[in-house]
Chain length 598, copies 2
């Protein structure tokens, strides 16, 4: 059996490369918002986080996966180790690291914060899940709640004493949030009475913290139907009362047995069975969905990071396995007395490992670059820079969310395959990460939803502005690559790929009929994601060339970067033209298919 | 929750179509070997099998998956329902259905037998596993054992009283069977003394039957090293002794916790700890691997059927879910008061369902057509027909084995995705089938091994004869399609695809260096499989046109066939040219990649 402690989770050398040689995140420190920061403060956060991830979180993963919690008498007792693990993450300062000083934070750039969290996610996805949910819930109140609501609900969450949830989904309203029916009745006493049922509420009930705040979507009595009649409420498990916290009539009604993320219970929740569930309106009435969506980019980048991290830990495990597992001999060596070789010496095993590397490291750059655009959208010096960054953030978010989920799942399956028969056993971890990964194509919007968001809202909705902005930054990357001596064939292939994306987009945009335009949106997403990852590999190749020019001390690392870039350009980039043609041809097989024909 | 009983497992209408409208299996009855058969006898077997699968096997699936057996005191007690389920399958006559009358069988064509077994596999893969293993083991003794060995070991297996296993893998010898070290010492008393360790022995220990016969690979003392020194032995759990069966010193040493097939324990076995493990040589000394490989086509077609069946049951579950789950409204309908529509009305959901259909039904035809070539290779009237069928059987077997495993896994993931958040819960079955499916790319030779078998041994090894034979039958199919009025663009696309396969093959064959030739073998397999499935969809489309011409009574079924064919030609066939180019370009990224660069 492999020794879990040896798994690096995320490659430190690659993180250093990505942050300082590819993305130059130090440049962010020149902006007023990040003036307190430097490479030293970034590295301190990374160092503390990766140490905690490796020494504390990762060793607990297997036990927590193997012993999911149960619901008994309305209570969920999570794995005994989770309480101190959560406390440990809080003590690292990660709940507020990316928040401003005004709320007790360090205003760490999202790009650096995102990288730091990948170590935690790779180590123990569900343990990190509590942090991500709490941060998201507190951030909503920070953005839209008044001082009193912030003091009451946000502060205890940021302090790590309470946790948060996002309570959107109802049994009849998943992808279709417009169909939410949970009600909120005004009382005149500052709060509303909430009644209804929610489902798939991650962290909806547990014994990790003294209280849980459910950021809940509901309709105020008399509100318009549909998505413009939904409001956002803070609904605590226990509300502040006369003598301290009292029960707030929101209870766990059921526990969904998830196939992964097994340290983080997914709950069905019942609100107001005794008509005594208080909720406090966050932001403006009927603007709940809009408020939520304003925070969506962050939540979706987090899901992308989940996907990359889950693929990364499995990638490293399979590299180590392949280096140490002897089996077979080189092709053409028929001497049975010759010793067996490690399977990493077989080309097809290296294919599976290199494909994983290309997905994991290419995906990581997409996720972190998207987070960097979030930093720039909020804090760049000029309005024009902020606007361009916002366009790119909006455009790249569905890619950063969906590519790691879809290709990460394939990558996780390859990690299992590299382990052969052992990979099919629960005594090895690749199967657990494969289970964990599958959620990422479903939660925070399915891949289908994101494909329509990308094509409909982001690309066509911006009337070409978003794609034009992408074309600019990719064009800059190509110039840089040429200057650094990167294979010109790759530069030309990426230029051509962008051209394919543009003509496919024009062709779809000209159709007029929304159903026809969006029919191949998943192909469109695949095409754009493949091109965006090609851009990422070109940037990596550029920095690798520069690194090799500086010295040959790190030749192995840089050579690996160039080989993975070569792989992506040889194997994936040719798919872009094919996908563009599929979009342009706009075949109608599944549009025509009728329910009775299956 | 969906009602499990409603799942048809495999579509009866599609089976009827495939056997009688596409493959014309009735024509086999004109051959002497199958003269006793007719469509009526075929349908009787199918009818009995599907009834048993639906009413008995399928309802037990969930409980058996949820309660895998444990090893205690060297014994494994399998789920209590399995004993009578196994007895039920035996009573259907399936252990000997495909065997000749001489051993108590019915000599049912493999094509029909294979279809019948898909119902059982789709219903409960691990319950069927005992049958497949026992049949394979008994068949080996039927082929290579003398009368006495047949009486002693084969007969009780065919009668369903004993079960069989295939004991090949050892901890250091999985894909590399040449490295087997289990020993066999002659005794002069007709048996050998066996000593060694095996791992991943499916059904290696259980309490379903009174005895287990392990068909075991071992080396006779002094045998040559490598694959030419391996012999095949029958090693019973209990051997015939003075007063009946006595312990034969082969014991369960461990149980591997598999992530699927959880009714069928996978065991580590220890032979001869007390130097009293008797084994009986089957066939010629040192010819064990060759004997095994002579039976491999059948075993691999069975794995292909496992893959198709596991994808099929999930496909039908997701179609039913999509027909009944309301969510959202048609694109462009913004009226929140309008009722929600079943998700099957969303194009992207139909895309996921149609892709599954294309994989499942296309894959089923590949598997059954390959089985039909097995029938013809053994029983066709002329030597020339048998030789051509054998070439096609050998060529198609790695495709029939690997396509359902690889694309079936994708299909199973789509079935989960269609179920949304519910799909991520173990309260719904798609996740269980996804786990079951993953084994099929690993056991009976990994996908990588089969890709090298296809390109190296089958295509290049036959010096073009196998591809030429494929070209002939595909050419006949194209003529038939043109005559039936199938879209000529599809006919031309398939012709062009075969041309791409041919040029890629020539290009690889010209390389000389085995490492360079086989570098892209997985791409080659993907290319050939995509073309073979396109051939299958062309055959289906041809028969569907004929059906529509006969009457419009069954219009929905035939329209579904044509839509799935359209999907495959629009979506997958364009990949063939891309894969051919990838083979021709023969990019060396992972060949160059070094272990230290990861």
């Amino acid at each position: 059996m492999a020794t879990p402690a040896a798994n690096p989770l995320i490659s430190d050398r690659d993180v250093e490369f990505l942050l300082y040689e590819v993305l130059n995140v130090e440049a962010l420190c020149a902006l007023p918002a990040f003036a307190e920061h430097s490479r030293e403060t970034f590295d301190m956060v990374l160092q503390a986080t990766r140490r905690f991830a490796r020494t504390r979180l990762y060793p607990s993963y297997r036990a927590i996966d193997a012993n999911p919690p149960a619901l008994a008498d309305g209570e969920v007792h999570v794995h005994s180790q989770l309480k101190e693990l959560y406390r440990g993450i809080v003590d690292l300062g990660l709940l507020t690291a990316s928040r401003p000083e005004a709320v007790g934070g360090q205003e760490l750039p999202m790009a650096v914060f995102t990288v730091a969290t990948t170590y935690l996610m790779a180590a123990n996805l569900s343990a990190y899940g509590y942090v991500g949910l709490t941060l998201g819930a507190a951030h909503l109140i920070e953005a839209f709640g008044d001082d009193s609501l912030q003091r009451t609900f946000m502060t205890p969450m940021y302090e790590g004493r309470w946790t948060g949830t996002m309570a959107l989904t109802e049994p009849q309203a998943g992808s279709s949030l417009a169909d939410i029916v949970t009600t909120a009745t005004p009382t005149g006493a500052g709060h509303y009475l909430i009644r209804g049922n929610k489902i798939f509420i991650s962290g909806g009930e547990h014994d990790l913290a003294e209280n849980i705040v459910h950021l809940t979507l509901a309709r105020i009595d008399g509100a318009p139907q549909g998505s413009r009649g939904i409001s956002l409420f803070a609904v605590p498990k226990r509300r502040p009362g006369a003598g301290g916290l009292v029960d707030n009539d929101v209870h766990a009604a059921g526990l969904i047995h998830k196939i992964g993320w097994r340290g983080l219970p997914s709950m069905a929740m019942s609100y107001g069975e005794n008509r005594d569930c208080h909720g406090w309106l966050i932001g403006a009435p009927h603007r709940g969905l809009a408020h939520m969506f304003q925070m969506m980019n962050e939540a979706r980048i987090m899901v992308g990071a989940n996907g990359v991290s889950t693929a990364s830990v499995a990638y490293h495990e399979s590299v180590e396995y392949a280096r140490t597992r002897p089996q077979g001999r080189p092709l053409g060596n028929k001497d049975p007395a010759a010793p067996q070789i490690p399977i990493i010496e077989h080309a097809d095993v290296r294919r599976m490992l290199l494909r994983q590397k290309a997905i994991v490291e290419g995906g990581l750059l997409v996720v972190v670059a998207t987070a960097q655009y979030a930093d720039l959208a909020a804090h760049a010096e000029t309005e024009a820079e902020r606007a361009r960054a916002q366009l790119l953030l909006d455009l790249l978010t569905p890619v950063a969310k969906s590519f790691p989920a879809e290709k990460g799942f394939e990558s996780n399956a390859l990690a299992l395959q590299v382990h052969g028969g052992y990979g099919y056993s629960s005594e090895y971890l690749p199967e657990a990460w494969l289970r964990d990964q599958k959620l990422n194509s479903i939660h925070e919007g399915t891949t289908g939803i994101h494909s329509m968001d990308l094509l409909g809202r982001k690309v066509l909705g911006s009337a070409g502005a978003a794609l034009a902005a992408l074309g600019e930054v990719v064009g800059e990357a190509i110039l840089g690559a040429r200057a650094a001596g990167v294979d010109t064939a790759w530069c030309e292939a990426l230029s051509a790929a962008l051209g394919e994306v543009a003509t496919a987009t024009q062709s779809l945009g000209a159709l007029g009929d929304p159903a026809a335009m969006l029919r191949h949106s998943v192909d469109y997403l695949d095409m754009v994601a493949t091109a965006v990852v090609a851009w990422s590999w070109l940037r990596r190749a550029t920095a690798a060339h520069a690194g090799l020019d500086r010295s040959d001390a790190d030749g192995d690392f840089y050579s690996g970067q160039l080989a993975a870039a070569q792989y992506w350009f040889a194997t994936e980039v040719p798919r872009i033209g094919m996908l563009a043609e599929r979009c342009r041809d706009n075949d109608d097989a599944y549009e025509r298919m009728r329910a009775d024909w299956f």
